[in-house]
Amino acid sequence: MKPGRRVQKKEKTKQAILKAALELFPAKGFYATTTKAISKKAHIAEGTLFNYFETKEDLALYFLEEELSGVMEWHLANRRLENADIAENLFAIIQHLLERLEPYEEFIGAVYMRALSPTSKLSPFSFESQDRHLRYLRFIREILLEAEADGEIPPVGDFGAYAVGLFQLAILTHWLQDKSRGKEQTLALLDRCLKMATHFLRNGGWNW
């Protein structure tokens, strides 16, 4: 079913606001950028902005949602990964997310700090972010299921998807702090962890 014209228009405005905000954040920073400046840049009334996003946090939440959807769409369309094993597959997904976030590193850093507060909507445990998380975890679960079916790893259940989610968060933390050129430390960490983990899963634990 195609979304109605109204929904389409609403989505368009949301995207325009986000685009304006993303242009402003790198220059002024997440905290210093006012909703007034954002609405001006997006050519809408400040009041209209609040119809879409109650707070800047909601805007950030929407941004993350967009990026995660982007990652899922990208993965679906990526033919390079057809023959990749599970370690490469997960590597590609997380690395692609980081690549998308790269232009907004400072903004992400600010959002990340905010998300640490348990009362924030951005917190991974908040009600508001639950939906987004579930969608993403289901996507990861699908990929793990495929690897299970191919006999690459033993059944890991939903726990596996949660573990990958937490791991992604840990990598994001490392990435934000990574001062190496091209953030290659993160590439190495990501690669080694995934190879190690899949190896241990395959061999039923630490039995080497």
């Binding site: 390079r80 990964l81 990749a84 094993d85 370690a87 490469e88 590597f91 590609a92 690395q95 690549e99 190496s180 050129r181 091209g182 953030k183 290659e184 430390q185 590439l187 190495a188 960490l189 690669d191 080694r192 962890c193 190879k195 190690m196 190896h199 061999n203 039995n207 080497w208």
Partner: protein, 448 residues
């Protein structure tokens, strides 16, 4: 799951624990990678077992405390400095390369971008995501430039150099006591670290490539790849693609004895040109550093480890040929200076001469004409030579005086002979040495 044998299993465990105890991080340590590789590589197990069972390798393992990889490399470089190890161990060590974990296509692509700012497909017309060779701390991919030129792109594993640097910090703090007492000179650690860092710096390798390409441009049977600076950095190196087979696969084509001899003579000539005229050596004449073509052309690859020196190789050769140290005391002092270094006390140093002469008498008796490599010797002689050489090396080592440049050059020399041996070539060493010294570059003469 049972590994090779119990002792080895516990060996792997102990290694892991040892590394764990030292507090190596997962990405912060090259040794950490090596430990992890021990766990990860399934296919390597059989090879490892075979290697483990080899006597020479066991010796090395014992001497280096069972740590592999970087530690081995340290051992290799130290052995170059001090002449600690006997010949077969040197051979074993010569074959070692710094190994990095393999990169899957996605990682290789991401790392290329981390190093060059662009993805390979944005730079090249074609880029093969699967590597075709391993390189020091990385891997090599085939690619085709926008202009249609075939190139080889070397990509280094991410952040591996900083991992090695971290290991050296650990080595330094762990060896504080021996450094303090002077048993392990800090300068030696510095030298080893400098060597490894230089060897893994692709900018440095590009410089070496340019140097050798220029110096050897008049020899038509040698190919040194051209560097594509615009697609290179300290972690990626793009070079023109060199055609040819590795030694193993070249030998599988069953080249005629004539071709083997030609290739052998050329390898010898290359070595002599470097040792006598360039005073710069494309180090480790080990099989992995050359590519061979059916017509006997040679491609030189892997210029990470290049060493410059001042030692006069042709003078040394003359001493060998004429037993020049026997002429008078001045000559003897001069010869010992070359071998033991300028600081060695004369009386002590000259104790090596009897062992040395005994060894030389076995490989090239005085007045026996040109020295050939690869001619059949009487049965049992090989063993005697080996034993004499080991005695000689031990004597030099006991004296604790050795000219590092001599140690290095003789080690490279041994590497070359090992290569010729695998090739099964018969080579007139004396003739080539004479020709190169006279400045006649011509292996055409040999070719015809």
């Amino acid at each position: 799951m049972e590994l090779v044998k119990t002792s080895q299993k516990s060996g792997a465990l102990r290694r892991g624990l040892r590394i764990g105890k030292l507090g190596f991080g997962l990405v912060g340590s090259y040794l950490g990678y090596q430990a992890q590789n021990l766990l990860l590589s399934e296919s390597g197990k059989a090879q490892r077992r075979a290697r483990f069972q080899k006597k020479a390798s066991q010796q090395v393992s014992a001497e280096l405390g069972a740590l592999k990889g970087a530690a081995m490399k340290v051992g290799q470089l130290l052995s170059m400095q001090s002449g600690v190890f006997p010949e077969e161990t040197l051979r074993e060590l010569a074959a070692l390369q710094m190994h990095a974990p393999g990169m899957h296509p996605t990682l290789a692509r991401a790392q290329f971008k981390a190093a060059m700012g662009k993805f390979p497909e944005d730079v090249f017309r074609e880029f093969d995501p699967q590597p075709f060779a391993a390189a020091s701390l990385g891997q090599v991919h085939r690619a085709i430039t926008r202009k249609g030129e075939k190139v080889a792109v070397k990509i280094q594993y991410p952040a591996i150099r900083s991992a090695i640097e971290n290991d050296f910090k650990v080595v330094r703090s762990a060896t504080f006591a021996p450094q303090l007492t002077g048993h392990l000179p800090t300068a030696a650690i510095d030298e080893v670290q400098r060597g490894i860092m230089e060897e893994t710096d692709y900018v440095n390798e590009a410089k070496n490539l340019n140097y050798f390409r220029e110096q050897l441009k008049n020899i038509e049977w040698v190919t040194v790849p051209r560097v594509y600076e615009e697609f290179s950095s300290d972690r990626t190196l793009t070079m023109s693609f060199v055609e040819g087979r590795s030694l193993g696969s070249f030998l599988e084509t069953k080249p005629s004895q004539q071709v083997r001899d030609l290739v052998g003579a050329r390898l010898m000539e290359l070595f002599e040109i470097q040792a006598v005229h360039l005073k710069t050596l494309h180090v480790d004449p080990h099989p992995g550093n050359f590519l061979f073509q059916p017509d006997g052309s040679i491609g030189m690859i892997d210029f990470g480890c290049v060493k410059r020196f001042t030692l006069d190789w042709s003078e040394l050769r003359r001493f060998y040929d004429e037993w020049g140290w026997r002429e008078n005391e001045a000559a003897e002092r001069r010869f010992l200076k070359i071998i033991c270094g300028p600081k060695a006390p004369y009386e002590k140093a000259r104790k090596i001469l009897p062992d040395f002469e005994e060894w030389l008498e076995l490989i090239h008796p005085r007045g026996s004409g040109d020295l050939f490599f690869g001619r059949k010797r009487e049965p049992g002689l090989e063993k005697k030579i080996q034993a004499a050489r080991n005695r000689c090396a031990r004597r030099i080592f006991q004296n604790k005086w050795i000219n590092p440049e001599y140690a290095f050059l003789s080690r490279a020399d041994v590497g070359l002979y090992f290569l010729l041996e695998q090739l099964g070539a018969v080579v007139n060493i004396s003739e080539i040495a004479r020709r190169v010294e006279a400045g006649q570059k011509t292996s055409k003469a040999i070719a015809s």
